[in-house]
């Protein structure tokens, strides 16, 4: 059947387009404007072409921040997604405990990001922090302000604490949508717990996992507030992720042209990787639809 093309839809989309233009497109254009020019104040601009872009792409500083960023996103995805699925599977399917579990899970998500950072900054301090001090008393040499590995561990654990709940809630919703008959049929078929997970639960989780992976990737790739509050990007530049580096460049050094080019490259990387995730994961669905 051929669908009738209805031009009226444009009128409904128009308000959103205008809103997005003001909130996103126009500011983005300013950034584009900065990225191809150089300025020394006084509103005097000089054409710079692609100089800033080549500069950024060649800079060692950008490469190491980018590498750190991918490592960070990789680690937290590798922890949060399996952990989230495991917790969602362990949560009760029905009964009195369901709302309790849900509220407990939702709590970390409700805390403002800089507060999360402050909580962990204090929590992990060796002198007064519960965690840091306990570790010190146990004889473990832990200091996130001096040791790069400790700083990484702190930031990763903080992110896992903060965001695993999101994966849990998404997966839990996915699991709840599986009818009882599937579990009953699996029992009659003599399926093991693993087979139930592999052939019933995981296929049904496919879509929510796609969303979870995308959200967690994008968010972790743009992470700023929490590591900024906890480590400030240090020690040295051990936890200087892309956004922290970008802010240093733009606000700290007031290097607007370079920072603008950085922003655009940053944006394109996120767009590209998200698109790749999406294509790979939905491509698999299409194949199974055949």
């Amino acid at each position: 059947m051929e669908k009738k093309v209805n031009q009226k839809a444009w009128f409904f989309v128009l308000p959103v387009v205008l809103l997005v233009a003001f909130s996103a497109l126009i500011p983005l254009m300013t950034v584009v404007n900065y990225s191809v020019q150089d300025t020394f104040g006084n509103n005097a601009f000089f054409w710079a072409g692609t100089d800033w872009f080549t500069d950024i792409l060649r800079s060692e500083r950008f490469h190491s921040a980018l590498w750190r960023q991918f490592l960070f996103s990789g680690i937290i995805l590798a922890i949060e997604v399996p952990l989230g699925i495991a917790i969602a599977l362990a949560m009760p399917r029905r009964g009195l405990w369901v709302p309790v579990c849900l509220v407990l899970m939702a709590l970390p998500l409700l805390i403002p990001w800089n507060v999360v950072g402050t909580i962990w900054q204090v929590f992990a301090r060796v002198d007064i922090g519960l965690l840091g001090h306990t570790l010190a008393n146990l004889g473990i040499d832990f200091n996130y302000t001096q040791d790069p590995l400790d700083a990484w561990i702190t930031v990763v654990v903080m992110d896992v604490w903060h965001w695993t709940s999101l994966v849990v809630l998404l997966c839990y919703a996915g699991l709840q949508s599986i009818p009882d008959a599937y579990y009953q049929a699996a029992r009659i078929d003599g399926a093991s717990k693993w087979a139930i997970f592999r052939y019933i639960q995981l296929p049904k989780l496919h879509r929510v996992l796609l969303i979870a992976v995308l959200l967690r990737f994008m968010d972790s790739f743009m992470i700023y507030t929490e590591p900024f509050v906890v480590t400030g990007g240090g020690p040295g530049s051990a936890t200087t992720f892309l956004s922290i580096d970008l802010v240093k460049m733009a606000i700290g050094q007031f290097d607007l042209g370079r920072a603008a080019a950085f922003s655009i490259i940053y944006f394109l990387i996120i767009l590209l990787v998200s698109w790749a995730f999406y294509t790979v994961m939905t491509g698999k669905t299409k194949e199974s639809d055949r």
Binding site: Y182, Q184, A185, D189
Partner: protein, 356 residues
């Protein structure tokens, strides 16, 4: 294939059932013969699915025992009972091919690959799905999916019983007949013990040799379709089966006749006087009610519905409503109508149960 015995079986979903009303399934004994085709018929919420899940082992009964061929299986999990169950909504494993779906129960039981292959092909042939074996199960139609769920049960060696829980609910009407006759055919060929849950009387009566009728957690009658029609053991059976259902008229009984309102109705023979204070009713199917001008008890005709071969007449006898089924062309008197009940088809009910 097995003979299934239910021994003083009862089930309550709550932990400490106090009264009879707390039981979703009230205590009863029942034997399902080996190789029988049974229908489990009753309205929604009468305990059909509960009973089915107890037989398959998905639910542990709170009281009583379940025996397969004399062996107690009450405590056994479903996978140890070797039964097949088809659910209301088709259950298939989306990510697998049809072949893998059918092979799944065998692989879970560590059957050798060559044996799996042989049985899957055999099953596909039986279900007429050989061509779809390599396909993903996801895109199939509802009836094909339902056939796969059935196949997943049957692919195992000599299943004890096949249980169907309203399996045709999501199937298109024109395919329902086709699938049901395929089931009948399978039953003839392999003589499995089959239990088919439904709330649709046509489905039950066309599928089964014996129908088990349930009502409010009780098994009210087990009988052939003919018995259910001619001798309903409970007023509910009379009312639920038949279209329209049996007329149930309150009466007083006196030997060989019953008194309905101000009028005497002849009965089949002499009845023992029922215990005082009980509810006494007379049941007669609309098929055995004749309206005419000449003899019988005067009634008032209220409305006539023409349904093609028959007309359904709604009338009142001394203010008590009843219906009659009149063949095409028969005269239906508008006034001065009189009714006659076929005495051999009139049953007597005391407190809703058939009075012998």
């Amino acid at each position: 294939m097995a003979r299934i015995e239910l021994n003083r079986l009862a089930h309550a979903y709550m932990p400490n059932p106090q009264s009879r009303a707390d039981f979703a399934l009230k205590e009863f004994d029942l034997t399902w013969d080996d190789g029988g085709a049974y229908a489990l018929l009753g309205p929604s919420g009468c305990g059909k699915t509960t009973l089915l899940n107890i037989i398959s082992g998905l639910l542990a009964p709170s009281h009583g025992r379940v025996l397969f061929d004399g062996h107690e299986v009450t405590g056994l999990p479903p996978e140890a009972r070797n039964i097949a169950q088809v659910f209301q909504f088709p259950v298939i494993y989306d990510s697998m091919t049809v072949y893998d779906n059918l092979a799944f129960p065998l692989r879970n039981r560590k059957v050798p690959a060559a044996e799996i292959d042989r049985r899957v092909h055999e099953m596909a042939e039986m279900l007429e799905m050989t061509r779809e074996l390599k396909r993903k199960a996801k895109g199939l139609t509802a009836d094909a999916k339902q056939k796969i769920s059935l196949g997943r049960g049957l692919v195992r060696d000599s299943v004890n019983a096949i249980l169907f829980d309203e399996p045709l609910t999501v199937i298109d009407p024109h395919l329902k007949w086709q699938l049901r006759s395929q089931l009948k055919h399978l039953h003839k060929r392999f003589a499995h013990t089959m239990i088919y849950v439904t709330h649709d009387q046509t489905e039950a009566l066309t599928f089964a040799d014996k129908v088990v009728v349930m009502y409010e957690g009780e098994v009210v009658q087990v009988g052939t379709p003919d018995e259910l029609f001619h001798r309903p053991a409970h007023t509910f059976v009379g009312y639920f089966i038949g279209s329209p259902g049996m007329n149930v008229l309150p009466c007083a009984v006196n030997g060989a006749s019953a008194r309905v309102g101000e009028h005497e109705i002849a009965l089949r023979g002499g009845y023992e006087p029922p215990p005082a204070g009980s509810k006494i009713e007379l049941g007669v199917r609309p098929e055995f009610v004749r309206l005419g001008r000449e003899d019988g008890v005067p009634v008032s005709v209220e409305r006539v519905d023409d349904i093609g071969r028959y007309r359904i007449v709604k009338a009142k006898l001394d203010g008590i409503p009843f219906s009659a089924l009149m063949p095409e062309g028969a005269e239906i008197p508008a006034d001065d109508a009189r009714v006659r009940f076929d005495a051999s088809a009139v049953n007597l009910y005391v407190d809703d149960h058939l009075w012998p």
